[in-house]
């Protein structure tokens, strides 16, 4: 057996295990849902439907492992991994300011993907967030969460 097929097989088992674990946990959690008296339950108990759906997913996952195991359609490149890390950075910076996080993410992603032209980076880092902020704030009357930058506008 080649290395790649061993790798695929492992991932196939891992994905199936994750799905089954998730559904089992959901069924376990649903056991703690409040039970309604017959007059109020309106046909089914609140836990019945989620349990039914999770049981179906488990059955289908077993069938999938047997007949149509998971295969990696596209290997994850380093750029994808880096982009995911930048999303984590975005989430972290959001606590300081949403638009600062957006501008930083946009510029960092663009540089990471190979863009080097300062004008384009300035466009992504300043112009786009600025336009989006004022479009949503002034036209759609959306109030964004307060932060370092948004406080300058909101006072």
């Amino acid at each position: 057996m080649s290395d790649s097929s061993v790798h695929r097989s492992r991932e196939s088992w891992l994905i199936a295990f994750l799905i089954v674990s998730f559904c089992s946990a959901a069924i376990w959690l649903s056991l703690s849902f409040e039970k309604m008296p017959p007059i109020l339950k309106r046909g089914i108990q609140p836990s019945d439907f989620p349990q039914l759906v999770c049981a179906c997913i488990i059955l289908m996952t077993v069938y999938m492992v047997w007949r149509d195991p998971v295969r990696v359609v596209e290997p994850m490149g380093s750029k994808t991994f880096g982009s995911l890390l930048l999303m984590v950075l975005f989430v972290a910076v959001c606590s300081i300011d949403l638009f600062l996080a957006l501008a930083l993410f946009a510029v960092c992603l663009s540089i990471y993907w190979g863009e080097r032209r300062p004008a384009y980076l300035a466009f992504l880092g300043f112009v786009v967030p600025f336009i989006v902020f004022f479009l949503f704030d002034q036209v759609f009357k959306i109030r964004f969460p307060r932060g370092w930058l948004t406080n300058m506008w909101y006072g």
Binding site: M76, M87, L98, F105, I142
Partner: protein
């Protein structure tokens, strides 16, 4: 006044017309950009419609749907990269024709076929949707339950993915729909004490995540793709000989596209594949297919645009999305407080017809945009990926935030994007997840109502003819293809 005429009167509002022109241009831009498609575009622009009235809001979303589906042909013909998956088959003959120096002719054919397909399918929509809605008046909860189940079972056949993986993704969507306070009993389910989860997981952030943010991650793997662009002088209208050769193909593909679109969950991609294959099967020169056959372009483009009208039939008449983009439009209807279904054609008939007429207007509009603007829109393909996708991320995040003005929705969008990326990486389509999320609530509600109605004897459902009919269709949708394959294989082995 007749609701059809009242709906038409809505188009007399100049602001709506201007909005439709802008949305159509926006849809063409979205469709022409590789990686962005009608579903992503509609999901990203849904938050922009929040402050609008219901008619302009939904008209804008349908305009994006129709225009983006058409515009996928521009990149398919000029750079051999389908702007949308529905135009994948257009590449097969469009690009070879363009390489022979006939890009203008290929685009002209695509524009005409798309317009004819789109206009005829909207006509079918105008006729079929009210009829279907009238028929649906006979439905009670068990019939609706069985119909919704049938809609979910059709997920098995969408796209070229694995049926079982599509079903798992759809069931996961149904599961996500149960999160929150149960409407019937007010019991909290999977909320973990978080008040943000009381109303459940929002459709809009999930759709923005799985269609927009996950595509960003997919695109990060395709940064090295080099696209060869064909230079085009001008779009030419097809000649008389071309029309003579393709008119039957256009009409056939329009019929196929409309029918496929009406089937729950099946969309323009499946329609274009079948339209293309049928065009080849009926052609007198099938050997030309793949080398620049004009019937191939007409067959694919007429079918994918016809599917847009067809997909709106179950969406509006039954509340069951006919395609992934229709699922986003359905989410838009819900956000605007409109409940699609049979009552729409009695209580909100003006609204329904205004949407039909705006779709008709858009289909005619992109005839002119296609003929006079294709050369300009082809240049959009030159927008660098490094600029486009960071912008998409900004719009995704702000769009997810805008609906409820909640950062929780931003986290939901990002988490959905990451989930969507990993689903795609392992061969699970994200479209069933979106449709499952939309239909999950309906399915549970109708199941509960059916249980009350049938005194908790669920097996009595099969004693109701219409319910039984939809349940049989569900079984056929789930097991029919494999049974057919087995019978066919046995037959061919005997031969």
């Amino acid at each position: 006044m007749d609701p059809m005429l009242q709906g038409l009167m809505a188009l007399a509002d100049p602001s709506l017309l201007i909005l439709l022109v802008i949305a159509t241009l926006g849809g063409v831009v979205i469709g022409a950009l590789p990686g962005l498609n009608a579903t992503t575009g509609a999901a990203l622009l849904l938050p922009f419609t929040l402050t609008m009235e219901a008619i302009p809001a939904i008209a804008v979303l349908t305009a994006i749907y129709c225009a983006a589906t058409f515009a996928g042909a521009i990149t398919a013909i000029l750079i051999n990269t389908p702007g949308t998956s529905a135009s994948a088959t257009t590449c097969l003959d469009g690009y070879p024709l363009a390489k022979r120096g006939e890009a203008g002719r290929a685009l002209g054919l695509a524009v005409i076929s798309s317009t004819v397909g789109g206009v005829l399918s909207v006509m079918c929509l105008m006729l079929a949707a009210p009829l279907l809605a009238r028929a649906a008046y006979q439905f009670s909860p068990p019939e609706y339950f069985a119909l919704t189940l049938f809609g979910l079972s059709m997920l098995a056949t969408i796209g070229d993915g694995s049926p079982i993986k599509n079903l798992i993704a759809g069931a996961l969507g149904v599961f996500l729909a149960v999160v929150g306070v149960d409407n019937l009993t007010t019991v909290e389910r999977f909320t973990f004490g978080s008040h943000e989860l009381y109303d459940g997981i929002g459709f809009v952030p999930v759709m923005i995540g799985i269609f927009g943010i996950s595509e960003l991650l997919v695109q990060s793997n395709a940064l090295d793709t080099i696209r060869e662009r064909v230079v085009m002088k001008a779009v030419k209208l097809p000649s008389k000989a071309d029309y003579k050769k393709v008119w039957k193909t256009i009409l056939r593909s329009t019929g196929i596209g409309t029918f496929i679109g009406i089937l729950p969950a099946e969309g323009a991609t499946v329609a274009s594949m079948i339209g293309y294959n049928e065009a080849r099967r009926w052609s007198k020169t099938p050997e030309e297919f793949g080398h620049g056959a004009i019937e191939g372009i007409a067959g694919s483009e007429a079918a994918n645009n016809a599917a847009t009208g067809g997909a709106m039939v179950p969406t509006l008449a039954l509340g069951i999305p006919g395609s992934a983009t229709a699922a986003v439009i359905l989410a838009g209807l819900m956000v605007h407080g409109i409940r699609p279904g049979p009552t729409m054609f009695t209580e909100q008939a003006n609204f329904a017809y205004a949407i039909f007429w705006s779709m008709m207007f858009v289909n005619v509009l992109f005839l002119f945009i296609g003929l006079y603007g294709a050369k300009l829109f082809a240049r959009i393909t030159l927008v660098p990926t490094q600029i486009l996708w960071p912008c998409v991320f900004i719009f995704s995040v702000v769009g997810a935030y805008a609906l409820e003005q909640s950062m929780f929705d931003v986290w939901v969008a990002i988490a959905s994007g990451v989930l969507g990326y990993f689903m795609r990486r392992y061969g699970f389509s994200v479209v069933p997840l979106a449709i499952g999320l939309i239909l999950g609530g309906m399915l549970e509600q109708r199941f509960g109502q059916s249980m009350v109605m049938l005194d908790e004897k669920w097996w009595l459902m099969v004693t109701r003819p219409l319910t039984l009919f939809f349940l049989i269709l569900t079984v056929l949708a789930l097991f029919g293809p494999s049974i057919w394959k087995r019978i066919f294989n046995q037959g061919s082995q005997r031969i």
